[in-house]
């Protein structure tokens, strides 16, 4: 009994039945064609024999694919190829079968045959060129694999051919595109380097800020300007603001606020540099632009400190030049006046020597007149330099104008009509009355000169309220003002002239007829009084100059005119005056005048000795002191020390020019007055009478 028979023997009847059924089913399926392949065991292992229909899908795939496919014998004779392979060669498929394939590899034939000899079941491949029927060479890769078969079957090799034409073309295009890109990058880098060089040459720092989140980037020069030795990694608006000095921050923030809406910004500000902490002036310019991620602002910073210093030096030089011009011009006037004084004094001396005392009075008048004109000239100079000390009073400007009417009428002559329009209920204002009178006279004379053939001069007052916009336009605080306008119907001014009218030394008058200081002095006075001056002019129609003066709610004082002659001596009996001056002649003169008027006087040559006298004598009623004193204590310091001892002490400063140390903001403390040299004894007496009434 064979082993198979033994195995069958061991099975049950049911198992045998099942096996039989399975065998019959298998036979039926094969007989009916319900199978794709049969598997046959053999000495080379299990062999799969497919039926023809099972190969159909692969055939379809091979014919459809974009690669050429072929099978060849070991000697290279073509057994099969797909249509695509024939197309690659530009030939009919039928003409290729049976031909040696090496023929189509041109000069690569022997290399292909070598590859073919080594093609195993693991497969191999290389790049070749196929010769198209037209002679054109087609770049391809060829993959070869040996088909497994039994020992009796002849060796057969499958090949797949991929056309490289397009991919090579693509790769060439890519190479060209890369080269193009690289060249563009080089160009751009060159441009950027050039731009950087230009910015560096201009000493400009570059910055760029994101307006939404506030961060940004900067150039090396920018960081250098802000005092950083090394290039900063990050920059932000906040960091910039930290450098801006506290006083400028609000303005800078405002400028950047504008930058969010305006196309560009430009401003100057001061920064504190990192490292040495130096304050530097910066000019900042920027342009805004939008990005998909929000608005940005980009621009440059320039350190303007040196330019500003140079500018300041230039301004100083111009000032010195102006002073030189002024001095030269005034020296001439002064010499004339001094000539009058000295000449008169010599005449007086001669007449007295001759005993002709009665004739002296004439020369005294001449000398006095010249001296007064010289005094007025120095006043004008002080007004110009805005160093004059104002003694403001609350006044009714209408009353002042009425008081001046006569004088103005006489000054302008009969060919010009004068109209005075005083506003009813005009507010009072706090000004220095003589200065305002001077300004009004000056403006009236200017108006007269503008109307050589006659016309009308109108002086008008009014109340005005300036709102924020109007005040801003006039560089004033918003609020209530009175105006004093002087209008003529004269030749008018061109815009160029009007714009320079307030410049010192600017004059349209012929040489010798005007100093060019009038309007600039009035401007200085108006500004110092908290007001403004405005000029409206039209060529051939006339000019209106308007003074704005701030309203003061208090009741006006009565105007006293200095032009009125002073009434006799003062009642000085019983009053004690301390006179402090380092110049003995002045001390002596003042003391003599006082003594004549019945005052008792004490004298001191400097501050400390004056203080000692003050401490010893409690009865002193008035201190008259020079401002510039030797001994380490000036007149103002002396006054402060005296006030500490005697708060109600009256003090009169005598000074060649009103120094800031005396007057602080340009106005005097209560109980203090200033008398500017030169002054006449009459004025001195009157002033003392005012300060010590009764």
């Amino acid at each position: 009994m064979s082993p198979r028979e033994a195995a069958v023997e061991s099975l049950s009847f049911e198992q045998l039945l099942a096996r039989l059924q399975e065998a019959e089913e298998t036979l039926d399926a094969i007989r009916l064609g319900h199978v794709d392949a049969v598997v046959v065991g053999g000495p080379q292992g299990q062999q799969v024999y497919t039926l023809e229909n099972a190969d159909r899908p692969y055939r379809a795939i091979i014919e459809q694919m974009q690669e050429g496919a072929f099978t060849i014998q070991a000697e290279g004779v073509l057994l099969y190829c797909n249509q695509r392979f024939a197309t690659l060669l530009g030939r009919q498929r039928e003409s290729l079968i049976g031909k040696p394939i090496g023929h189509y590899f041109g000069r690569g034939a022997s290399a292909f045959m070598a590859l073919l000899a080594h093609a195993g079941e693991a497969g191999t491949g290389a790049e070749f060129s196929l010769v198209h029927d037209s002679g054109e060479m087609i770049p391809v890769t060829v993959s070869l694999i040996e088909l497994a078969g039994d020992l009796n079957t002849p060796r057969m090799i499958c090949g797949v051919v991929t056309d490289l034409t397009r991919s090579l073309q693509r790769s060439h295009e890519l190479t060209a595109a890369n080269a193009q890109l690289a060249s563009e990058i080089r160009d751009r880098q060159r441009a950027e380097a050039g731009l950087q060089l230009a910015l560096d040459a201009a000493e400009m720092g570059y910055w760029d800020l994101d307006l939404t989140i506030g961060d940004g980037r900067t150039s090396r020069r920018h960081d250098d300007i802000f005092g950083y030795q090394d290039k900063l990694r990050d920059w932000s608006f906040g960091r910039f603001l930290e450098h801006v000095v506290v006083e400028d921050r609000a303005a800078v923030e405002k400028f950047f606020g504008v930058g969010r809406t305006a196309p560009s910004i430009e401003f100057s500000c001061r920064i504190e540099r990192a490292g040495d902490g130096a304050r530097r002036w910066l000019q900042v310019k920027g342009l805004s632009y939008s990005t998909p991620r929000g608005p940005r602002l980009s621009g440059v910073v320039i350190d303007m400190t040196k330019a500003r210093e140079t500018e300041e030096q230039l301004r100083q030089a111009q000032k010195m030049e102006a002073v030189g011009q002024l001095t030269g011009g005034l020296a001439h006037d002064f010499n004339n006046l001094l000539g009058g004084i000295i000449g008169s004094l010599e005449m007086i001396e001669a007449r007295i020597a001759e005993g002709r005392v009665a004739e002296v009075e004439r020369y005294v008048d001449v000398a006095l007149h010249s001296a007064k004109r010289a005094a007025s000239l120095t006043q004008r100079l002080l007004a110009f330099s805005r160093r004059q000390t104002l003694s403001p009073k609350i006044i009714d400007v209408n009353a002042l104008v009425v008081g001046m009417e006569d004088l103005i009428r006489r000054s302008i002559g009969p060919s010009i009509r004068l109209e005075v329009i005083g506003a009813a209920g005009l507010w009072s204002t706090l000004v220095d009355p003589p200065q305002l009178e001077n300004a009004l006279l000056n403006l009236s004379i200017n108006a007269r000169d503008a109307m050589p053939h006659g016309g009308t001069l109108t002086i008008e007052t009014a109340n005005v309220r300036l709102d924020d916009g109007q005040a801003n336009e006039r560089d004033l605080q918003p609020g209530k003002y009175i105006t004093l306008s002087v209008r003529d119907t004269g030749v008018g001014m061109s815009k160029e002239v009007a714009s320079r009218a307030f410049d010192p030394f600017f004059t349209t008058k012929p040489l010798g007829q005007g100093t060019g200081l009038g309007l600039s002095m009035i401007y200085g006075f108006a500004r110092q009084s908290g007001g403004q001056i405005q000029i409206l002019s039209e060529k051939d129609r006339g000019t209106t100059i308007t003074l704005y003066l701030p309203r003061n709610a208090a009741a006006p004082a009565r105007i006293e005119s200095d032009r009125r002659p002073l009434a006799a001596d003062i009642e000085g009996a019983g009053k004690l005056v301390l006179v402090v001056d380092d110049e003995p002649s002045i001390r002596m003169l003042v003391a003599e005048v006082l003594n004549e008027a019945g005052f008792a006087t004490l004298e001191a040559s400097d501050g400390p000795s004056a203080l000692r006298i003050m401490e010893m004598s409690a009865k002193i009623d008035l201190l008259i002191t020079d401002v510039g004193l030797p001994g380490g204590m000036n007149g103002r310091q002396l006054a402060d020390a005296v006030c500490a001892l005697r708060p109600t002490m009256k003090i009169l400063f005598i000074t060649g020019y009103a120094e800031n140390v005396v007057v602080g903001s340009g106005r005097l403390d209560h109980g203090m007055q200033v008398l500017t040299k030169p002054f006449t004894m009459n004025v001195l007496k009157k002033r003392i009478q005012q300060m010590l009434p009764g």
């Binding site: 089913e25 298998t26 399926a29 319900h34 065991g41 799969v48 229909n53």
Partner: protein, 106 residues
């Protein structure tokens, strides 16, 4: 004592389907087998599909002589069903599975 229905439901099937590449018949056999497994065996089966081109030696152990052939290895006895498995009743009988609908009636 265990419920025979429950026991039947717990039986694990170990199946092998031998096919030949991507022929239409192979595709039909795979499709039919998946449907039968899904409807009647739920997650109680392990089905491995073997392409005899890829793995001719696998046919030897299970004595496959033609494709497509489904082999039930477990539960025993081992059973081979040849063809594209389109006769569902025959397949179910061969696998020794009663249709679920039938069980519900019982």
């Amino acid at each position: 004592m265990s419920d025979p229905v429950d026991e039947d439901l717990q039986t694990q099937y170990k199946l092998r389907l031998f096919i030949t590449g991507s022929t239409a018949r192979s595709a039909r056999a795979i499709e039919n087998m998946r449907r039968i497994c899904h409807e009647h065996l739920h997650d109680r089966y392990e089905l491995v599909i073997i392409d005899v081109y890829e793995n001719p030696q696998a046919t030897k152990d299970l004595q496959i002589i033609a494709t497509p052939t489904l082999v039930k290895i477990l539960p025993e006895p081992l059973r081979r069903i040849i063809g594209d498995l389109s006769d569902k009743e025959r397949v179910l009988a061969g696998l020794d599975i009663r249709p679920i609908e039938a069980k519900k009636v019982v």
